[in-house]
């Protein structure tokens, strides 16, 4: 059941650049958009700029220069007056982070933390807020919700803390949920439960979801489309199904081939040689060149432009049409 394409995206990011003083360009020209009800994966290894990008969307980055456009329903978040920004945060976009322990207030019961969010973003009375908090805890799968309102974060398991975090984010009724490695700190069976929960919420509420992760398996199982970041730039973007079957950037191709599970057990894997580039001034070349087995002189001559190589497939790789398909279609 493919949803009909709505006209306007919830969020559109154009040419986002983030620089930490003096000259560490950590995000260098990132574009993507998210439609209502869509799950978009933002994927990359450490240092690719994925978490920084997420924080920039909510203007939570301090001490960094953020340039470009972050358009929330057409309004530029980066230029929004504070009052509008406060109204947009929570009700427009809300976020959950990797470490619920760090994001939750350790000295307040979780019921009170949900209540804070409800008080800030809704007009509900005290009694109605309590009822709503119980509903929210139930919605995120915390059993015996009425009693759990009084629980402190340390009394909850890691999975329950992440559920509580999600309940707080949902309290304001966001149209887009930003999730930064929401399951990385969790065990695999609990990760599975939280991902199933997030997808159920997306379907029930017709909410958008931006999932930032390093785990391609998580993306394969949950996302509609994905954006692959390398060294602060978009390597390629497209539907998860297309992208995993036929990478259109040499980095994605190399990354997928480096993972176990492709070939026979105990055969040599194909690591990507070298290391990700050090952050610094933006390169006027493809950042993957030193590690790339498809590199040609053209790749170093200038930064490859982002090109629509197929309908709804973008790639910034000069070798995009020389990469092998991964599975017989």
């Amino acid at each position: 059941m493919t949803p009909l394409l709505p006209m306007t995206p919830l969020l559109e990011v154009r040419d986002l650049a983030i620089t930490f003083a003096p000259a560490a360009r950590v995000v260098d020209g990132v574009d993507f958009r998210i439609m209502p009800g869509e799950v978009l994966g933002l994927v990359g290894e450490s240092g690719s700029g994925k978490s920084v990008t997420l924080r920039a969307l909510l203007r939570l980055l301090h001490g960094a220069r953020v340039e470009g456009h972050v358009l929330w329903k057409g309004r530029d978040v980066l230029a929004m007056p504070d009052a509008e920004l406060r109204a947009m945060r929570g009700r427009g976009m809300a976020a959950v982070f990797q470490e619920p322990t760090a994001a939750l207030n350790p000295v307040l019961p979780i019921g009170l933390q949900i209540d804070e969010s409800l008080a800030a973003h809704t007009d509900l009375s005290g009694a109605a807020r309590r009822r709503r908090a119980i509903e929210l805890l139930g919605e995120v799968g915390i059993a015996d919700a009425a009693r759990r309102l009084g629980a402190y974060p340390h009394e909850l398991s890691g999975g329950q803390r992440q559920r509580a975090m999600i309940a707080i984010a949902l309290a304001a009724g966001p149209e887009l949920l930003l999730a930064d490695e929401p399951t990385t700190a969790l065990d695999v069976t609990i990760q599975d439960q939280i991902l199933a929960l997030l997808l159920r919420l997306v379907a029930d509420r017709h909410m958008g979801l931006l999932l930032v992760t390093h785990d391609l398996g998580v993306v394969a199982e949950t996302c509609d489309r994905m954006v692959v970041l390398y060294a602060g730039r978009v390597a390629e973007a497209g539907s998860v199904a297309d992208l995993l079957r036929q990478p259109r950037h040499a980095y994605t191709d190399a990354l997928l081939r480096s993972m176990p599970g492709e070939g026979e057990a105990r055969t040599r894997l194909s690591p990507i040689p070298g290391m990700a580039p050090k952050l610094g001034r933006p390169l006027d070349a493809c950042a993957f060149v030193p590690r790339c087995s498809y590199a040609s002189p053209e790749c170093s001559a200038h930064r490859p432009p982002m090109v629509a190589v197929e309908p709804r497939r973008l790639s910034a790789c000069i070798a995009w049409n020389r990469l092998p398909a991964r599975v017989a279609a």
Binding site: E45, S157, D192, L197, L255, G261, R268, P271
Partner: protein, 339 residues
Amino acid sequence: MTPALLEVEHLSKRFPLRRTAFDALRGHPRPILQAVNDVSLSVARGEALGIVGESGCGKSTLARCLVRLHDPDSGTIRYDGADVLALAGAARRAFNRRVQMVFQDPYGSLNPRMTIHDALAEALRVHAVVPPAAIPARVAELLALVHLPPDAATRRPHAFSGGQRQRIGIARALAVEPAIIVADEPVSALDVSVQAQIVNLFLELQERLGLTLLFITHDLRLVRHVTHRVAVMYLGRIVEIGPTPALFAAPRHPYTQALLAAAPRLVAPSLVAPSLVGGRRRREAATRGELPGGAAIPAGCAFHPRCPVAVERCRRELPSLTPRGTPWPVACHLAGDPA
């Protein structure tokens, strides 16, 4: 079958937990964390045995017992026929040389003020592996073995990337010429593209040096790729142990089945058509409930509160790890049933 190089029988390790002053005054006993509970396994020379499980399943405690960083409360460990727990003095030091550990965070296990040469030379000197005059040449050999450049010797740990540091950790373990490497989540802190380098190094070292490998991880993809046999642990016990490819293809214990179902697979979603919804592959979560802590292990089969097929017997009776008409031992009352 080749004789076992390392043999563990009925190994248990408990940790007493703190209790509050209030509980102490009321005479409550100290809570006990049962980290490893009656674990038996054996590893053959040259074999790669995987130990998988989620946090708190006891896999790291088991690893530490094997290298004697923890003293088990009960059970036996035999290395090449000798009772390891009874070793003392020179014999114990000799055992320490034979079984070496590689940790998840090599930065935490390397002295930041020592050059790589000094760190490796220390291990060579302490165990008198080579005469002092031969140490520089041996350090160079070790660096070459783990594919680090010779000039790495003069640098300190901070100068290296995560993957290089793990190579140094492996080189130091190899310095004393061990027969067994116990690797506890050796690549979990590394980026995917770097993990492959370290995995390859382990495979290569096993071939070149005939090393025996105990590979402890939560990552099922890695275990599938690296190991010959795998033991699945849940709350301190092995629930299933068998040859990796066959066990992954047809797991017999409901926990193993849930674990494998929960692990995200890297397959393009359109290739899994039946469960395809709106371009995403997602079904119900594979398990319900959370892992209880090791201080509150459920009676009977520890997995029964989360098990989709548990029956009354599972609540009462602990299933032993034994072949039940199955090709390998499974600790599940229902494993042999045709249903």
